[in-house]
């Protein structure tokens, strides 16, 4: 489970460039899908990596499945040496994606984002169209299962008909 409020608070207060994707984004658009983690796409600029470290360090992120007895350093170098990360933190599971399959890197994701007010914070959320492309590209059963609902939402929210 993820506590969303402290995550959004810290990311916005530290002015992190991020776009919410995954289950939280899907829910924000009106889906009944229930997620347990928080996924976001982030800009990989040097400045932004530093902001992410400032924003998330206090939650003690460690890669999920990483041996508990081994030390793990969450810093800019760690983020620079990878692209996508799946972290367990003190507030829940947080996934950081430098690139979203079907959409692209942060700049492409950002152009398909919409500003939404969530829990008192104005944040960027990937559009339904972007989410559909991402889910199709991911191609896992759990991603494909959510497609009919997203496509229905896209249809009813469009101005056509």
């Amino acid at each position: 489970m993820i506590e969303l409020e402290p995550a959004l608070k810290s990311l916005t207060e530290n002015k992190v460039e991020f776009v919410i994707i995954g289950g939280v984004a899907i829910s924000a658009h009106g889906s009944a899908y229930l997620t347990q983690d928080f996924d976001f796409c982030y800009s990989r600029s040097k400045e932004n990596l530093s902001k992410i470290v400032s924003a998330l360090s206090s939650f003690n992120p460690r890669p999920r499945g990483f041996p508990v007895d081994l030390p793990y350093l969450f810093d800019e170098t760690t983020l620079r040496n990878g692209t996508n990360f799946t972290f367990r933190t003190s507030i829940g599971d947080i996934d950081l994606l430098g690139e979203v399959a079907g959409v692209g890197i942060y700049d492409a994701v950002d152009t398909e984002a919409e500003i939404k007010n969530l829990l008192g914070y104005a944040v960027k959320v990937l559009s339904i169209e972007g989410l559909i492309r991402a889910k199709r590209a991911a191609g896992r059963t759990k991603d494909l299962l959510v497609l009919p609902e997203l496509e229905a939402l896209r249809e009813v929210l469009s101005d056509e008909e």
Binding site: I2, S31, L119, E151, A152, E155, V156, E161
Partner: protein, 81 residues
Amino acid sequence: MLWKVTKIIGMKKTPEEKLLNPKPGSKVAAAQEFGIDLTLLVENLRLTPDQRIRNLQKSMRNLHRLRQDAEVRGVQNHDRT
């Protein structure tokens, strides 16, 4: 001119109408056939994104509590055997 505007307005269906009366062959109809409960979408679309995320957070916490309870019960049952 006015009749044209009226006609256009009359043709437009709200998202709720589209969900409650799916057009055959539409994505909404496909979702219904797939097993999606469209009434849940109707309810969610009546909410703001903020309200949807607050509900999501509540559901996450409830599920988490259920899992924790189940784990505790599992340990207790295991201790009894």
